[in-house]
Amino acid sequence: GESVGLHLPTLSVQEGDNSIINCAYSNSASDYFIWYKQESGKGPQFIIDIRSNMDKRQGQRVTVLLNKTVKHLSLQIAATQPGDSAVYFCAAFEADTGRRALTFGSGTRLQVQP
């Protein structure tokens, strides 16, 4: 089955710096990936997504990079702000399991230091 994991459980950055959150996945048939942000006591909030036919996608202050060769996904946040402090999850759709739902990683906590 799918294993979607994160390299670091906690990432601490200075306000204004760029943040990079990494995610590895094991199922090469995964064809759609999403990054979510979860603040304390709230549900996951969509940040950005990318399909497997793309290598890079940019949003407002965020960029997702997909390397299918090594099955790696990253989320880059530019000019990190205190409001970016949260837990970030990557999630993937697996095209070959018949299960039409996301598989989530365990999350990375981003702490922004003032």
């Binding site: 006591g41 549900g43 759709f93 989530f104 990683g105 365990s106």
Partner: protein, 112 residues
């Protein structure tokens, strides 16, 4: 536009009690999902539904049941609550498989 609404927000159950977690969405989404999130962990899929009358098991379905009699509602039933079911439960919906799901605010459940 309310989106995905979950009730209750909090609940404490005694071992062996039963309850239903309610989830409703007003976006006319076909796909609906139930996830549980244990402390410090990611979300694990319990059940999902691709449309009214169709449900399927996820990763951790044991101890739960679901039904999907309408497009809007997707209740999750716990028949005999156990301490291992202490968790935060999230309901989500999406228009199709290929689009990102929208999540509700969650139901925090403690079984004591």
């Amino acid at each position: 536009n309310a989106g995905v609404t979950q009730t209750p927000k909090f609940r404490i159950l005694k071992i062996g009690q039963s309850m239903t977690l309610q989830c409703t969405q007003d976006m006319n989404h076909n796909y609906m999902y139930w996830y549980r999130q244990d402390p410090g962990m990611g979300l694990k899929l319990i059940y999902y539904s691709v449309g009214a009358g169709i449900t399927d098991k996820g990763e951790v379905p044991n101890g739960y049941n679901v039904s999907r009699s309408t497009t809007e509602d997707f209740p999750l039933r716990l028949e005999l609550a156990a301490p291992s079911q202490t968790s935060v439960y999230f309901c989500a919906s999406s228009y199709s498989q290929g689009l990102n799901p929208y999540f509700g605010a969650g139901t925090r459940l403690s079984v004591l």
